[in-house]
Each structure stands twice: as structure tokens, then as C-alpha cells.
């Protein structure tokens, strides 16, 4: 069984800004329709950190993750991911980001192996890298040829994470990643995240399971009413 490090560190690490900030948001405002889902978010995440986003439902955690993934336009303020501008350099940001939201982004009529192979192939991953990603998330055995439609929620989650590993994401944006996983699956997920970070990845997790995710994270950031309270930022908004 290969480690995530072995799977991920096949390329030279891409340039990161000199100050090491992978995520750097300042007074970021994002709007859905006419509703401001983020009302001045300031947050910084350094390379190799695991940061937990904490907050009630509708506080803006998912919107914050989608903004960082370049799926939600930045209306005001500044936002840089890997030092790249969220407004003008989305195309360069997106391939380096992996977002696992409430949905898994899987094709129900394809098998586990076909899904991981497809997502790996979008970044030119080799067969070894793809099978390594499947092995790490333990979806390579009897699950390999099972169609995603027939999987349990936890197995789908593991398959989605295997796709993320195969995609060589450097910034992992995870929305309730522990949801649907049993105790073993949760332990495996935590191990995968730690290994990903050891290999140079950065992880931002939004979760309500504070006991589990809090133990995993280096830092906790509160998101309340579209505002981000990052204790590490002076005058955090």
C-alpha cells in the first residue's frame, strides 16, 4: 500500500509565494444572487496547515470553500491562492485545488476504478499513481469494479478522496468530509489528510464534528454570518 506522499510528490512542488501563504483573503465579499454569503472575510492559511472552519449552518463555510476553489466570484476585497489572483488567474488556480463538497463529483454508472482513472487522467496521472490512490483509500479490492451507484455513502466518500489524491490536489478544501464515514473510515481519512500535509498539501476543513476535526487541525477559524474570525490575523474581520 503506497502512502499519499508517494502518490503526490511525483512532480516538483510548484512555486508558493515567499511568505508561504497558500490562501490569503482580505475583506473578501462574495454574493449569491443578491445575498452576501461572505461579508468581508479575512483569512490566511500557510502551506502545510490543516485549518478547521467552524460555524453554524448558513454561516458561509461552504461559500468560503467555493470562493477558494474559484467557483464563487470575488465581488470585493482581495483574494490570492498560491499567490495567484482569484479574480484574474482562476484558470491557474483551479487545477491545483481539490474541492470535496456535499456532493462527491462521481459518475454513478462508472465503477470505482473507472472514476478514479478518469479524474486522474484529467491531470495525466499514470496507472501506478491511480492504483496507488485507490490503494491508499482502500477502494482497490472488492470495491474496484463496483459501480458507484451501488456503494454506501462512506464508500462513495472514500472513492471521492481517492480521486482527489489521483488529481494531485495541493489545496484540499473539504466540506464535512467525515459525514457518512464509519469510525474506521474516519481514522483512515485523518491519516490520509496528515499524509497529504506531510507531502506538502494544505487542508481547509469545514465541519460540525468539532471533536474529530478539531483534533486533526492545527488551527480553528470561526465563520459566523458571512464574517471570518481568524484569531491569527490582526483585526480579523
Amino acid at each position: 500500500m503506497r502512502s499519499v506522499s508517494a502518490v503526490m510528490m511525483h512532480d516538483v512542488a510548484p512555486p508558493v509565494p515567499p511568505d508561504g501563504a497558500v490562501v490569503d483573503l482580505r475583506d473578501a465579499v462574495a454574493v449569491l444572487g443578491s445575498f452576501p454569503v461572505l461579508a468581508g472575510a479575512t483569512m490566511r492559511v500557510d502551506r502545510g496547515e490543516i485549518v478547521l472552519l467552524r460555524g453554524p449552518n448558513g454561516a458561509g463555510k461552504t461559500s468560503l470553500l467555493r470562493l477558494c476553489a474559484g467557483l464563487l466570484p470575488l465581488e470585493r476585497g482581495t483574494g490570492r491562492i498560491f499567490g495567484l489572483d482569484l479574480r484574474t488567474e482562476q484558470e491557474a488556480i483551479r487545477p491545483r485545488v481539490g474541492l470535496l463538497g456535499h456532493r462527491n463529483g462521481l459518475y454513478a454508472d462508472l465503477s470505482v476504478a473507472e472514476n478514479v482513472a478518469f479524474w486522474g487522467a484529467t491531470v495525466g496521472a499514470t496507472a501506478d499513481e491511480i492504483s496507488g490512490a485507490m490503494a491508499r483509500l482502500a477502494v482497490d479490492g472488492r470495491l474496484r469494479d463496483v459501480r458507484v451507484r451501488s456503494l454506501s455513502a462512506g464508500q462513495k466518500r472514500r472513492t471521492a478522496l481517492a480521486c482527489l489524491v489521483a488529481r494531485r490536489a495541493e489545496l484540499w478544501l473539504l466540506d464535512e468530509p467525515h459525514a457518512g464515514l464509519d469510525a474506521t473510515g474516519r481514522d483512515e481519512l485523518d491519516a490520509v489528510l496528515r499524509q497529504a500535509v506531510a507531502a506538502g498539501a494544505t487542508v481547509v476543513v469545514a465541519s460540525h464534528e468539532l471533536e474529530r476535526a478539531g483534533g486533526l487541525s492545527d488551527r480553528i477559524v470561526d465563520v459566523i454570518g458571512g464574517q471570518v474570525i481568524d484569531a491569527s490575523q490582526e483585526g480579523g474581520s
Binding site: 484558470e91 483551479r94 487545477p95 463529483g105 462508472l110 484529467t122
Partner: protein, 229 residues
């Protein structure tokens, strides 16, 4: 990865999903077949049926196109795969070409079956001299329909009520294909004594349509995805 390679990857994925789910085989083809039979019931006179057979083939193709397009984007939407494609930074032009390719392959299979059905049910005859024109018509019309279908499928992917919105948007746009392909097939089959040579100018129209939507669709697809999902 090159754009063409990613397009082939997307097309192969869509066709693999079709192979597993058999929606074309088990739902779209029977639907198209039933449509042709209903036309036969409605126009129950052999000389009328033979005369209008080319138009009925393309009408059944257009109805089936809507089902195929909706299926093509339903597989992307049901578990958020389209968002994942966007986050993965997959080139929208490659997505457009890949999905158009897969759609064209399915449409081509459908059209061959519909042509066979027209020969059996309507007594249509394919003279040897018309085969080249017929095949050229199928290819050019299929390319145009696949590009339009993919473009509007992407446009409506994020809207509620897309099932009704799609035909409203697509049918007016593909009217030139319906007219051009029907006239060209009439020429190929010699329906109503139409000469073979009269069909080729329509191929020009179909080709221009396919190229325009192939290029225009590829350019517009990225911005459409950004705004519609």
C-alpha cells in the same frame, strides 16, 4: 495534456457510461422507434409516408436529441461532477468537444436505426447513387446537432425547469438543420423525383452550420458554464 486528448477522455467517459447504463439502447432507440410508428399511424397512406419519410426521420432525430442531451448533462449534474470538472481546471473547450463527440456517436447510431425503420415501415428506398449524399448528410447534420445540443445542454444545465427550456431553445436554432437535412435526404432517396444534384447545396448549409456551432459553441461554452452552474 493536450486539448484534443482531454476531449477524447471526456467522450470515452460519456460513451462508457452509456455502455454501462444503456440509456440509448433501452430508452432512446425505443422512443424513436415508437415515434416513427406513430407517424406511420397518423399518415396511414403509403405514398404519403414514402414522400415525407426524410422529414419524419429528422423529426424523430430531433426529439431523441433532446433526450440524449438531457441525459448527457444529467450525468454531470447528479453528483456535482460538472463543478468538479470546473475545479479541476479541465479546459471547457475540451469538455465541449468531448461531450459533442460522444453525442454525435450516439446520434449517428440512432440515425442509422431510424433510416432502417423508415425503409421497413415507410417503404423508403435508398438508390445506390444516393449513398454518398446520404452518408455526407448524416455526418454533417449529426455534427451540427451534436454541437448545438451540447451548447444548449451546458447553458441550461444549472437551471431549474431545464427539461422544458431545452426544447424551447434548441428547436428554433436547429430549424436550418431540419430543413437542410430533409431536403438533402429527399435528394439522396429520390423522393418525389427530386434530382440527386439538388441535395449537395444543402450539404453546404449543413457544413456551415456545423462549423459555426463547433467553433462558436467551443468559445461560448466556458463562460456559459461559469454562469449557469
Amino acid at each position: 495534456m493536450s486539448r484534443w486528448r482531454v476531449a477524447r477522455l471526456i467522450a470515452a467517459k460519456d460513451l462508457r457510461i452509456e455502455r454501462h447504463s444503456r440509456v440509448l439502447l433501452n430508452q432512446v432507440l425505443p422512443f424513436a422507434g415508437v415515434t416513427m410508428v406513430m407517424f406511420a399511424f397518423a399518415l396511414d397512406a403509403s405514398n404519403v409516408l414514402e414522400r415525407v419519410a426524410p422529414g419524419l426521420i429528422w423529426l424523430a432525430t430531433l426529439f431523441s436529441l433532446l433526450v440524449l442531451v438531457q441525459r448527457s448533462f444529467a450525468i454531470e449534474g447528479e453528483d456535482g461532477a460538472l463543478d468538479t470538472l470546473r475545479v479541476a481546471g479541465v479546459d471547457p473547450v475540451a469538455i465541449f468537444w468531448g461531450k459533442s463527440l460522444a453525442l454525435a456517436a450516439q446520434l449517428a447510431a440512432l440515425e442509422v436505426v431510424l433510416l432502417g425503420t423508415a425503409i421497413v415501415l415507410y417503404g423508403a428506398d435508398v438508390p445506390l447513387g444516393g449513398v454518398v449524399l446520404l452518408v455526407t448528410t448524416l455526418i454533417t447534420a449529426t455534427c451540427g446537432l451534436a454541437c448545438v445540443g451540447t451548447l444548449y445542454g451546458g447553458l441550461t444545465a444549472g437551471f431549474s425547469g431545464r427539461e422544458t427550456l431545452l426544447p424551447l431553445l434548441v428547436f428554433p436554432v436547429v430549424a436550418p438543420v431540419l430543413i437542410g437535412a430533409t431536403r438533402a435526404v429527399e435528394s439522396a432517396l429520390g423522393t418525389g423525383g427530386v434530382a440527386l444534384a439538388e441535395g449537395w447545396p444543402w450539404i453546404g448549409l449543413l457544413a456551415v452550420f456545423a462549423v459555426a456551432f463547433g467553433i462558436g459553441g467551443a468559445l461560448a461554452f466556458g463562460p456559459l458554464l461559469e454562469t449557469s452552474t
